[in-house]
Assembly symmetry: C2
Homo-oligomer: 248 residues x 2
């Protein structure tokens, strides 16, 4: 038997680096570093959803009509249900959800504090941008997860996209007054800049999560790949903004 | 054929006044005054739920821990789903939900403006009091409605009671510092006073709804019965507050 015949051989790097996606949670989590990375990921996503709930609910107050208010409230409520699923998953794998979320509170709160919408349109653009970036990130990360975690992430992803109503409203506002487009384009750029800045802070602070992202765990990205992921998300954002009439 | 043999004879008052609860919506709504009253009721409940969602989400910011924040967010989300059911019902019976809600915006917004909690405990007491009064009112009104509307009101009612967690927290705070009890007792009294004041404003403003409540529509209350309903709700509130250690 040659070494290439041995299944699961640690020296068998190529096979190893494509295996996490094929494993279930119990098998994958036997690696304490992978487990810690997933706990970080679930904690970060959970607090992100809870913070999004809170901010969307607050931004709903800026709505010019009851129907608009109800739309933003609906999005907020959807985020809350995502939070519940992620929190329940943390509990299911024996983690204290609050402890898993705590490390990410400062980054999200910082993001929201720096991007407090000053009017309804800024709130709509923020809802749309936030929802879209979250979807992109969920989709990017899903492929690198064990089957159980991936299923959850995809289920939450499948339920995003509530911000579509925002597009129509923002378009109408720009049609009515093209100067609005310039202001909102700057706003969208600021949102993305702040999101990247906070993400980098998280990557710098959280060893397990970053290690997974930069390839220290089987199936993770290498550092260049992390950069490419941020690029893809930024490009998708730029395209969406242009389609919305917000060429920055 | 004598007049007493004629079914549906307008002179046949006793039979007429016990019949709404036995009718389905289509039959009951043939009476335009009953229909208008139910549209008012659904509009009032729907906006009440939407306003409650918004305020609970805002009060969640006062939470001392992430777990507390999640509990209040859960309540807010439940209120939003009540709103959805009530709004969908309005649409189903061919009414514009926004138009049905508009007449009640001032009363609810006035209530919330007058009862902005200054801290987490006041927010908890408000959540508990609001949830309990809403349950009591839904239960009182359900028996006077046609079968379709009653079913909806009972379904929404069945899903209330999310505020139970508040009781434990408030009790613990009073145990730790009995002076807190005095302050919160005054607060609870103010909440009830403001709720009654806004309710009376609504009763005075909305003919169709009030007429149903005071007995102008078959199966409605008489004026004394409306007074007794407010009394029962106030008494239940007072008992709950005493049980909570808030004897005002």
């Amino acid at each position: 038997m040659t070494s290439s015949d041995k299944p699961g051989n640690a020296a068998d790097a190529p096979a190893e680096t494509t295996s996490v996606a094929a494993r279930d949670w119990a098998t994958a989590a036997a690696d304490p570093q992978y487990r810690a990375a997933v706990v970080d990921l679930l904690g970060a996503l959970a607090y992100g959803e809870l913070a999004a709930f809170e901010r969307l609910a607050e931004d709903a107050k800026l709505a010019p009509t009851l129907a608009d208010k109800a739309e933003l409230a609906k999005m907020a409520s959807a985020e809350f249900h995502h939070f519940e699923r992620l929190r329940d998953r943390l509990a299911e794998i024996g983690e204290e959800p609050t402890a898993a979320m705590e490390p990410f509170v400062a980054a999200y709160d910082g993001f929201h504090r720096q991007t407090d919408p000053s009017d309804w349109l800024e709130g709509l653009v923020k809802a749309y941008v936030g929802d879209s970036i979250a979807s992109d990130f969920y989709r990017e990360v899903a492929a690198r997860l064990d089957s159980g975690t991936r299923e959850l992430v995809l289920a939450v992803l499948d339920d995003t996209g509530h911000a579509g109503f925002a597009v129509e409203k923002v378009r109408a506002a720009i049609d009515a007054d093209p100067r609005v487009g310039g202001r909102l384009a700057l706003w969208a750029r600021r949102l993305m800049g702040e999101a990247l800045s906070q993400s980098q802070r998280v990557v710098a602070d959280r060893d397990a999560l970053s290690t997974m992202l930069v390839g220290g765990v089987a199936d993770g990205f290498d550092l260049a790949e992390v950069g490419r992921m941020f690029s893809r998300i930024t490009e998708a954002h730029t395209k969406r903004m242009a389609a919305l009439g917000l060429a920055a």
